[in-house]
């Protein structure tokens, strides 16, 4: 009944859709789907994958009038959302997202420079610590376990979400100003 091409497409598409491989990675979902009972698995697959659809659709609809003028910025936001909600993310995604964000810092600069610096430092700390933990896990056996990798993924995703919230707030602040804000005061603070 099923041809080879059928298996081909399903083998390419279905692991991302169904979150089948429980191999440890930087993401969040491998742990959940290793621990979960089979009878709940389908429900959680639906729940988690539909989140991606919903968030991406909302972001694209919200910024539909500025797809070109804020093009790279939208790319960064979509990239971050995808990185958070991806079943099999890599560190590469996060760092390249940061590098793209560096090119668009003018949007965020008046908003929250200190917070961004703090997030970046926390993120770097998390990366260094997780490297150490991974060394401990692989070379001195028994001193650590795979939960450390999961904790690292959780911390990374937490920081990434905070940064994403800041970025989205910066976008929103492009379109609204508080009641008593004046541009001259802003210019004075900038100088």
């Amino acid at each position: 009944m099923f041809s080879t091409s059928h298996h081909l497409l399903l083998n390419i598409v279905s692991p991302t859709v169904g979150i089948l491989e429980g191999i440890p990675n930087v993401g969040l979902f491998w742990y959940l789907f290793n621990q979960i009972f089979d009878r709940f698995r389908l429900f959680f697959v639906y729940a988690i994958q539909s989140q991606l659809v919903v968030y991406l659709a909302i972001v694209l609809l919200r910024t539909r009038k500025h797809l070109t003028s804020l093009a790279l910025y939208n790319v960064v936001i979509v990239y971050a959302i995808i990185t958070v909600l991806k079943p099999y993310p890599e560190h590469y995604h996060i760092t390249s997202m940061f590098a793209l964000l560096l090119t668009q810092m003018a949007f965020i600069k008046p908003r929250s420079p200190t917070r961004l610096v703090i997030y970046t430092l926390v993120y770097l700390l998390v990366t260094v610590l997780s490297l150490v933990m991974h060394r401990v896990w692989t070379f001195t056996l028994g001193n650590s376990n795979v939960n450390f990798i999961f904790v690292q993924g959780v911390a990374q995703t937490f920081v990434l979400l905070l940064i994403l919230i800041d970025v989205m707030n910066a976008v929103r602040s492009l379109f609204t100003l508080p009641p008593n804000a004046s541009l001259s005061a802003y210019a004075r603070t900038k100088e």
Binding site: P24, L72, K86, A99, A106, H134, F175, L177
Partner: protein, 500 residues
């Protein structure tokens, strides 16, 4: 040609340094040469061992997709088999894979560098470095298009030449001058600002010139604040005064004869200026900015370890993301923002239309190199297409555009796209020959078909899921089936297991 343009000396130095650092890490960190990823950084889609396993099955004549081993793209199979034949040992295979990954990473670095050179908005480290500020000016070349951004040596720091007002002298400290168009309607507080105005207060004078024009029809909103109203009235008065003054100036300052031909040219110039302002050119020393961004990208502590695991299995994505770029740029620019006095879409000035397309395509290059999933691309594209197509349908429905105009405008937008594509690769004045338009249009249509077929496949998978789920629930309801019984005893796992 392009390698000389793209690979600047800084980039060459950084890429060489990157290669040296990676090689030393691979050779000397663990005491033995190790080119293969550790478990932490591998996903099923980026595993070399799985790829070798799949290629072995492929050589033996067995479909590698029958099991759960191989999840990567099919075109990678012959490549891996060829690589194993050439290398003939595991160590050589790992080194070759290592070098391939570094090559692709360098492509990502080059893409980031170009992004920061052309599309970055005010790089963050400018106040630290105190670099020389660059001035931009819009110079009319007689045809009504903003010809170029003049080099700093051409124009004095405090002067801008506008087609309508002539020369304007600014006294602010920041020299970045762009005529701007408000991105927003008046908010609920009765006043509006543009993001360019917010970034750069020195543009306030130019903002005043254009604010009144674009918002006369829309009104001021229901603001209760008197200050905003006072400011707006002031700006209007200033604008009237300035326009009255400048009628004499333009004839003297501008040597081009475009203005004397009539008000239509003024409008086109204004429109082109507005278009130009949508995507501001990068400011400051973009070369150092690019170097810093690329350094951040290449020498992040985790990337040093995890770069090895990018694979090259995502050749499909360029087409998909370029489709997004088409849909987004062409329609946004041609049919929504810019209209002539007759209410017709203004599509003459291509160089402005191409510019944001570059931005999206350059971002798409990053996405390609860093391997977003096909599944996600399938999600993004139909949304972008729907959003862009909805506008034309809307215009047609409300009588501003007939059906013939709709079809012709669609075809025109497809014609405009490829030249934007080519100019994304370095040369902005290059345009595609006409023979290339049709193949690229076919490629676009093919990518659209791919998305629709992919959506069909996904819906089929979801239907299969839900069908097995329904079976499960029905049987448990009707026959008081024990739900907790293992799936293999129930015989219900066949649907699911045959899929995966």
């Amino acid at each position: 040609m392009w390698p000389q343009e793209w690979l600047t000396p800084e980039l060459r130095f950084i890429l060489g340094l990157n290669l040296i650092v990676r090689l030393t890490l691979a050779f000397f960190v663990d005491g033995k040469p190790s080119f293969l990823p550790e478990i932490q950084f591998v996903t099923p889609f980026t595993s070399l061992t799985r790829a070798i396993e799949g290629s072995f099955l492929f050589e033996k004549g067995v479909s590698p997709y029958l099991g759960q081993v191989y999840h990567q793209q099919p075109w990678l199979l012959p490549f891996i088999t060829w690589l194993t034949r050439v290398c003939q040992s595991e160590q050589a295979m790992q080194i070759a894979w290592f070098l391939i990954c570094i090559a692709f990473e360098s492509m990502g670095a080059v893409a980031l560098y170009t992004i920061t050179q052309y599309y970055s908005v005010n790089p963050p480290f400018l106040p630290v470095l105190e670099v020389e500020k660059r001035t931009t000016s819009i110079v009319s070349n007689g045809t009504g298009t903003p010809a170029s951004i003049a080099a700093p040596s051409d124009v004095s720091a405090e002067e801008i030449v506008t087609p309508i007002r002539g020369s304007i002298k600014l006294t602010s400290t920041d020299n970045i001058i762009q005529p701007t168009r408000p991105l927003v309607k008046p908010n609920r507080f009765g006043r509006y600002t543009t993001f360019l105005e917010k970034i750069n207060p020195s543009m306030k004078a130019l903002c005043k010139e254009f604010d009144g024009d674009s918002f006369d029809d829309e009104g001021q909103g229901k603001g209760s604040q008197t200050e905003a109203k006072v400011e707006n009235s002031e700006t209007k008065e200033e604008r009237k005064r300035s326009l009255a003054d400048d009628k004499g100036k333009t004839t003297t300052t501008l040597s081009s004869s475009s203005l004397s031909e009539g008000p239509k040219n003024e409008i086109t110039m204004l429109v082109s200026k507005l278009r130009w302002s949508l995507v501001p050119p990068p400011q400051g020393d973009t070369q150092t900015a690019g170097v810093i961004v690329v350094l951040f990208y290449l020498f992040h502590p985790f990337v040093i370890v995890s770069t090895l695991y990018q694979t090259i299995s995502s050749i499909v994505y360029p087409l998909l993301f370029i489709a997004i770029a088409y849909a987004a740029t062409a329609h946004d620019y041609l049919y929504d923002e810019n209209m002539t006095a007759d209410g017709q879409p203004q599509i003459e000035h291509l160089e402005d239309v191409q510019r944001p397309g570059h931005a999206i395509i350059a971002g798409a290059l990053m996405a390609i190199v860093s391997q977003l999933d096909l599944f996600l691309a399938l999600l993004v594209i139909p949304v972008a297409l729907l959003v862009s197509c909805k506008r034309n349908v809307h215009r047609a429905r409300w009588g501003k555009m007939s059906a013939d105009d709709l079809s012709s405008s669609l075809s025109r937008s497809f014609e405009k796209g490829p030249s934007g594509l080519v100019s994304a690769f370095g040369n902005t004045e290059l345009s595609l020959p006409l023979e290339w338009h049709m193949p690229l249009f076919r490629a676009f249509a093919g990518s659209f078909l791919i998305t629709t077929s992919g959506l069909l496949i996904i819906s089929y998978i979801l239907c299969d899921f839900s069908w097995s789920y329904l079976q499960h629930t029905f049987i448990s309801m009707l026959s008081k089936y024990d739900v907790d019984m293992p799936a293999s005893e129930r015989g219900l796992d066949k649907n699911v297991s045959s899929m995966f």
